[in-house]
Symmetry: C2
Subunit: 370 residues, 2 copies
C-alpha cells in the first residue's frame, strides 16, 4: 500500500515498502501515484554495526564489518539504481521515476531498537555502542547516463524538495543528531555506481568536523555576539574576487582558505540553519545556481570532475543559531592528469597544503563559457 503526502512546489511523495521491509519514497511533480510492488525475494537485513571510541581524539569510529560482503560492482546490464525493466529487478520497483530515496541495503548506520543513547566518553575504558543512525540512497533521475549538471532546473527543484523532506523527517527521530546529504562523484573518490545519485547519512552523534565547527562558532558568538558564518559570508561578498556565481538568493564562492584545488561553497544570502528552513523563494532559486556551478566545475578542464558535494547544516538538536546551511563542493582534481592526494601532512597531521590560490581557481571557474 502506498502512503501519499503533498509537499511544497507541487511535489507528491509516495512511500512504499520494499520486499525486505525497507522503505522507498518516490518524489514526483506530475501528481503520479506509485504502486509497483518489489518482486524480489525477501532478504534478511544485515546486522547493526558498532561505535568505538578513538580515545586519542575522543571521536567515534563506526565499525560496519557486516557491510564487507556487499555488492560493489553489479553486472553492467543491471544497475541497481535504474528503474525495474521486465525481469531485471532493481532497487526501484517502478518502471520510471523522477527522484527516489530508499534505505541503504548495507547501511553503516541503522535505526536502533528501543531507546538509544551513545555511551559516555570516558577515555580508553569507554564502552562500545551500537552504530545508530540512518543511511539512505537518493537517486536524482532514472536516466543512467548523465550527471547532476545534466538535470533540468525543474528536476533539481524536485530533488531539493526530497532533501528537505528527508531532513524534516529524520530530524524527528530522537536518536538522530546530525544529517548530511552528500554526493560522491567519480572513480577517483571511489564511486562504483555511475548512475546519478547521492547519499544521506543521519548520525546519532556529532561528526568530528561538525563538533569542531560548532565549538569555533560558539566561541566566536561568545566573543563578538555574531554568527561566524555570517561574517565569513560578508567578507566573501566584500572581497568579491573569489565569487563564482550569484543570484537574488544564493552566492557561490571559493573560500578564502580553500583546502582543495577546486572548492566551492554555495550559501543562501539570508542564512538558515538547515534545508528544512529554506524559504520557497530560496528553494526556487537554487536550481539555477547549482546547475551553473556544476557546469563551471566540469568546464574548467572540459572533463567530468570527481567531487564530493555535501550539505553542511546546523545539528538537529543544538547550535541551531550558530551553524548555517551551505553546500560544499570539493574536488581533488588539480589538472587533467593530476590529483591532489591527502598524504602525510593532511591525513596524519590534519595540516592542509594547497598548491593553487583560491583567487586563481575562482577565476578559472568564472572564465568557463557556459
Amino acid at each position: 500500500m502506498s502512503e501519499q503526502k503533498k509537499l511544497s512546489a507541487g511535489v507528491i511523495r509516495n512511500n512504499l515498502a520494499m520486499a525486505d521491509g525497507r522503505t522507498i519514497r518516490y518524489y514526483d511533480s506530475q501528481g503520479q501515484s506509485r504502486s509497483a510492488q518489489d518482486q524480489r525475494p525477501k532478504e534478511e537485513q544485515p546486522g547493526i554495526g558498532e561505535l568505538r571510541l578513538d580515545p586519542l581524539l575522543n571521536e567515534w569510529v563506526v565499525m560496519a564489518a557486516h557491510r564487507q560482503g556487499r555488492i560493489f560492482l553489479p553486472p553492467k546490464e543491471l544497475c541497481p539504481l535504474c528503474p525495474t525493466k521486465g525481469e531485471l529487478l532493481t532497487e526501484v520497483p517502478d518502471t520510471n521515476y523522477e527522484v527516489v530515496v530508499f534505505d541503504n541495503r548495507s547501511p553503516s548506520l541503522r535505526k536502533p531498537e528501543g531507546d538509544w543513547a551513545a555511551p559516555d566518553m570516558v577515555g580508553p575504558e569507554t564502552d562500545a555502542g551500537t552504530a545508530a543512525g540512518k543511511c539512505e540512497v537518493i537517486c536524482f533521475t532514472d536516466n543512467h547516463g548523465g550527471s547532476f549538471k545534466d538535470l533540468t532546473p525543474q528536476r533539481v527543484r524536485v530533488l531539493l524538495e526530497a532533501w528537505i523532506d528527508r531532513v524534516r523527517e529524520l530530524s524527528q527521530e530522537p536518536y538522530i543528531h546530525h544529517i548530511a546529504p552528500f554526493e560522491n562523484r567519480g572513480e577517483e573518490v571511489g564511486v562504483t555506481l555511475s548512475h546519478p545519485h547521492g547519499q544521506i547519512y543521519a548520525y546519532s552523534y556529532l561528526p568530528s568536523r561538525v563538533q569542531k565547527m560548532l565549538a569555533v562558532a560558539r566561541k566566536y558568538m561568545d566573543e563578538t555576539g555574531k554568527v561566524l558564518f555570517d561574517d565569513v559570508l560578508a567578507r566573501e561578498l566584500k572581497d568579491q574576487v573569489r565569487i563564482v556565481a550569484k543570484n537574488a538568493h544564493w552566492v557561490a564562492f571559493v573560500p578564502y582558505a580553500a583546502r582543495y584545488p577546486f572548492e566551492i561553497h554555495v550559501a543562501p544570502l539570508n542564512p538558515v540553519a538547515d534545508l528544512a528552513e529554506l524559504t520557497p523563494e530560496q528553494a526556487d532559486a537554487f536550481p539555477e545556481i547549482s546547475l551553473e556551478v556544476m557546469r563551471r566545475l566540469d568546464g574548467v578542464f572540459g572533463i567530468d570532475m570527481a567531487y564530493i558535494a555535501t550539505w553542511h547544516q546546523a545539528p538537529v538538536r543544538e547550535g541551531r543559531d550558530l551553524l548555517r546551511l551551505h553546500w560544499q563542493i570539493t574536488s581533488v582534481r588539480r589538472a587533467p592528469g593530476k590529483l591532489k592526494y591527502l598524504a602525510g601532512s593532511e591525513s596524519a597531521m590534519g595540516a592542509f597544503i594547497m598548491d593553487l590560490k583560491p583567487e586563481q581557481s575562482a577565476g578559472q571557474l568564472r572564465d568557463v563559457e557556459l
Copy 2:
C-alpha cells in the same frame, strides 16, 4: 666545506652546502667523510608561501602556490634521489650514500626571515601569515629499487639516528612548534618518486590533529591525573587480541578504533615524548620491530601496500608530558583490487566508517609467514 658531527650508534654526520644554498646531510656508519660538490648551476630559491586561516574550523591552511611549477615526473633515467653518477647530476652530489637528508627544493614551509610569530586567530578578519617552517627530504638508501622493508637492520638504525638528529636540531629553531617525519609509499597515495624516501615537516603552528590530541590528553590528565596514551597502551597490552608484534622495548598493535583497513601503531613500552628522548636501548630495538611490521603489512596480500607512516610526537614547546611518541602506519588498501576511499562521511564530516574489524586485520597481520 664539510661540517662533521659524531652522533650515537657510531653514526657520523657530514653537512654540505648545495649549489643553491640548501644543506645536505650525510649520515654514515663507517666513518666516511663526505666532500663531493654539487656541480649543478645555481638556481633561485622559490618564495615563501602564505598561511591563511580557515575561520570555520580555526585552522591554518598553507597556500604554497609557488610550488605549482615543481617537477613531478623526472625522466626515468634521472631519479633526483639517486646518487650522482657521471653527468647525471641529482640532489645528492656524492656517488653513494647511506642515509641523506636535504632541504626540499620546493618546500611548502620555509625558514622565515627575522623574528616570526603566527598572526592572532580572530575569525574571518585574521591576517595572513607567512608559511614558516621547514620541509626536508630523507632518503633511506642509495638503492633506487626496494623499500623500507628491504633495508638491513643496521641501515634502519642509521635512519633512526638521522630522524633523531633532525628532531633535535629542528627543535632548536624558535619558529618551529611541531615536527612530523613521515613516509608516503605507493602511487595510491600520490607518490611519484619510487626511490625509498620520506619527508620531515616542521610546522610553525600545531597541526589540527595534534591540537585535538593535546586538548583531549589535557582533559584526561585533569580528570584522572594520568597520561592518556599510557592508558591506551595498557589497554592494548591487556586486550592482546590486536597486538601484531612485540619485543623487549616496543609493541606494535592495530588500535581498538582503527580508521583504516590496515592501521598499525608502534610504540615504545616505556613512553617518551619524541624521537630525541629515545634511550639507546629503545633505539637499538627499533629496527627489528619496524622491519617485521612492514614485512607483515606487505605479506597480507603479497603486494607492495600503499601506506602513510608517520611519527607522532609531543609538540616541541608544550604538552611535553601529555603526548607520547608513536609511529602510525595507515593503509587504504583493503583488498588486492580494492581501496578505502575517504568520501562524504570521512572527508566532509570527519566521521570514519570501517568495514574491517581491527581484531580481524591484526589476525591477518599476525598470520603472515615471514
